[in-house]
């Protein structure tokens, strides 16, 4: 029987269906150069840790349920943290201008019915890139499922680090997309691959500096109920800052039955 109560949860933990995934990745040893021009109404999102893809479901487990998350960082200043599942919506080769379409945002059970999710678009270099005078334009289906529309051209920074990203500004009135149908670029020179992701959030939280105790979040008590299948990709981002630091912490999960 699936977990629906705290007693169910405790029983699963007692029977050994729980996991602890630590992370301590030196992924931000140097100041990142942000991809997006932050004056263009974009939130900096720099990937600081990537958890292993969730493994094949063990016998007796139908999904993974995140239950607790903890994070601290090596720096002396705290920052915001986003723990999120990533959905690859598409990518563009900045040398050739070729767009490769990915998935649309998935559908989940929301308020008793099936609802296609929506998300801000995270744009991030996934193979090293550079160039000058580059702009990007997105064509997308918005959070309400309206006919695809196109953004204004966005000028991106000339030199950008891997995993340095930000939210791509959408048209006024839109906070998210259900799908990206095309990306075009103008450039006098360019290289690298920029990938566009949707985010299905697990947690948005603070990460404390090294001088204080780590923030520990009880996800279920905070109302963040997620069921994750095998192969899901979970990344951790610093929000609003490109500063260098080394994050460390863990994500605990329980196996649903």
């Amino acid at each position: 029987m699936a977990i629906v109560t705290p007693d169910d949860l405790i029983a699963r933990i007692s029977n050994g269906y729980d996991w602890n995934i630590p992370f301590a990745q030196p992924a931000m040893q140097a100041l990142r150069t942000g991809l997006i021009n932050v004056t263009s109404h974009s939130t900096i999102l720099n990937r600081c840790a990537t958890l292993p893809d969730l493994p094949t479901l063990p016998s007796g487990v139908t999904s993974y349920i995140p239950t607790e998350f903890a994070i601290a960082n090596s720096g002396v200043v705290g920052f915001g943290t986003l723990v999120t599942e990533l959905i690859e919506l598409g990518s563009i080769d900045m040398a050739t201008g070729v767009f490769t379409d990915g998935s649309a945002m998935p559908s989940r059970t929301v308020f008793g019915g099936t609802q296609q999710l929506a998300s801000p678009v995270l744009a991030m270099f996934t193979t090293a890139g550079g160039g000058t005078s580059r702009t990007l334009t997105l064509t997308y289906v918005d959070q309400d499922g309206n006919t695809a529309e196109t953004t204004s051209a966005l000028t991106i920074n000339n030199g950008s680090s891997m995993d340095a990203g930000g939210t791509f500004p959408l048209n006024q009135g839109d906070w998210g997309v259900r799908d990206i149908t095309n990306v075009t670029r103008t450039a006098t020179s360019g290289s690298g691959t920029i990938t566009f992701y949707g985010m299905v959030p697990i947690l948005l939280v603070s990460a404390t500096p090294s001088t204080v105790n780590a923030v520990v979040s009880d996800l279920l008590a905070e109302g963040v109920i997620r069921r994750l299948g095998a192969g899901r990709k979970i990344s951790i981002f610093t929000v609003g800052s490109a500063a260098q630091n080394v994050p460390m912490g863990y994500l605990k999960m329980v196996g649903d039955s």
């Binding site: 977990i3 629906v4 008793g112 006024q172 906070w175 939280v205 963040v224 109920i225 929000v239």
Partner: protein, 260 residues
């Protein structure tokens, strides 16, 4: 009734069974607004360019409560007020024409019975930039106790810009604390622009500290304030106080469902 506010088992049961709404909206202002003054709400505020629509609810789900609201600002030192927004009236400046005059809805508070609500922090916001020199806006309303024939008067700055929001509460009549319904809106002068009166049922009112830090308005069981239920189709808006420059906040909103 199974309400996420009733107990922790109910809280978990509803989310596991019916599915919560977990969104990550960016609330943005893309352009400067116009500062408030003593005759127009005192505190400078801006309404976000984006709103979030609460998804439809499938029986037996009848409502939902915000059980997590986390805000991270790109820049420092803001206060945000996030709530379910209800447009109580629209004024088109050209022709001094009002429309859509209506009441705040009935909603459950703290899983109790559905009651007539009042807006305790209503805003007059600029939907289309004004062409008007220090216009006087007069709002006729029914107050929080149901008393009719009340009046609020604001004198706005000249040519207020789109998304500027002016707090009405400081200008309510007498000792009134809220608005149940708007019955009239008029303006003394002007040739262009659109104003709207918005009432909020608050979800979170919180400071956004040093840029990058998250402030959390977590699960409501520990909160002493009233918690309003939302329904499918309700609109969630964000008002930023204390700044008129372009900015954005990244927000995690989680709404947990309720069934009879």
């Amino acid at each position: 009734m199974s309400s996420p506010l009733k107990s922790l088992p109910d809280f978990m049961y509803q989310q596991f069974n019916q599915g919560n709404f977990n969104a990550l909206p960016e609330f943005k202002n893309r352009a400067n607004g116009t500062a408030a003054n003593a005759t127009s709400g005192n505190t400078t505020a801006m309404r976000s360019d984006e709103v979030v629509n609460i998804p439809p609810m499938t029986s037996p789900v009848t409502g939902a409560y915000c059980t997590r609201c986390v805000v991270i600002g790109q820049n420092a030192n803001l206060e945000v007020r996030i709530g379910a927004e209800f447009i109580l009236g629209t004024l088109t400046v050209s022709g001094n024409s009002s429309s859509g005059l209506t009441s705040m809805p009935s909603r459950k508070i703290n899983k109790g019975s559905s009651v007539q609500t009042a807006a305790y922090d209503p805003y007059l916001y600029v939907d289309t930039s004004l062409t008007a020199v220090t216009p006087v806006v007069t709002i006729g309303y029914t107050n929080q106790a149901g008393t009719t024939g009340r009046t609020a008067t604001l004198t706005l700055p000249s040519n207020a810009l789109k998304s500027s929001a002016f707090r009405i509460a400081p200008h309510l009549q007498g000792n009134d604390t809220g608005i149940r319904a708007v019955t009239s809106i008029s303006i003394s002068t002007g040739s262009a622009g659109v104003l709207k009166v918005a009432g909020l049922l608050p979800i979170a009112s919180m400071p956004v500290a040093t840029g990058g830090f998250a402030n959390t308005f977590g699960s409501p069981q520990g909160k002493g304030s009233e918690v309003y239920a939302v329904e499918g189709g309700d609109v969630i808006a964000c008002y930023r106080l204390g700044s008129l420059v372009p900015d954005r906040v990244l927000t995690q909103l989680v709404f947990s469902p309720e069934t009879p």
